[in-house]
Symmetry: C2
Subunit: 123 residues, 2 copies
């Protein structure tokens, strides 16, 4: 069974997570996969707990999508290290990570269009 | 003269800034406004330097768009404090900030669609 984990940074303010919760809710309607959120720090669940939950639910193909705009140390170092640890722990599970969503041209264009609309719609 | 500043977090890795540079380049083609980038930390220019550059170039209406996915302390506290300081410094300039781009429903949908595509396109 396939599953996707939306992996975000995390923050102290619970309101910070709202866009990510909206993404997860959107994908639960538009995709046949199990969708969960996980956070690098400051919020729960962490990636290890989210993978554990999906494995317990019977998922054996788990894809982690870093919901980061830029790909710096968190995406290029912290996430691969977490993935390596989890692969050792679950040798029968296929566990993979994509590039950061912010590196997709269509996301860049949507962000730019939204920025322009927000800036020009201010009263 | 109107100007927009795309305000992002910043990171140690120079490659992190690429999506933001792409956004700025995109907007320089699609909008009549002057477009500059600024960073909260770890990258240059900071917001104060970017505003100074735009003021020196003759811009008197400056809109700061936080290019953050979630709105936590950086968007809700750090940015308003910076804006207050800059308004005191430039009393004849109209200086405003929008909500974070990640709070736009169309950005959320684009992020979700990109996440699903990335997850399902992995070989």
């Amino acid at each position: 069974m396939q599953a996707i984990i939306l992996f975000a940074h995390g923050a102290r303010d619970p309101a910070w997570a709202r866009p990510f919760e909206a993404m997860a809710a959107h994908l639960r309607h538009t995709s046949p996969h199990r969708i969960d959120l996980a956070f690098l720090e400051l919020m729960q669940p962490g990636l290890e707990a989210a993978v554990e939950t999906q494995v317990q639910a019977g998922c054996d193909q788990i894809t982690v999508v870093p919901v980061f705009l830029g790909a710096g140390g968190h995406v290029r170092r912290d996430l691969p290290a977490l993935i390596d640890t989890l692969r050792s722990r679950y040798p029968t599970i296929t566990l993979r990570a994509t590039c950061a969503v912010g590196e997709s041209p269509e996301v860049m264009a949507a962000l730019a269009d939204a920025a322009l609309r927000l800036a020009t719609e201010l009263p």
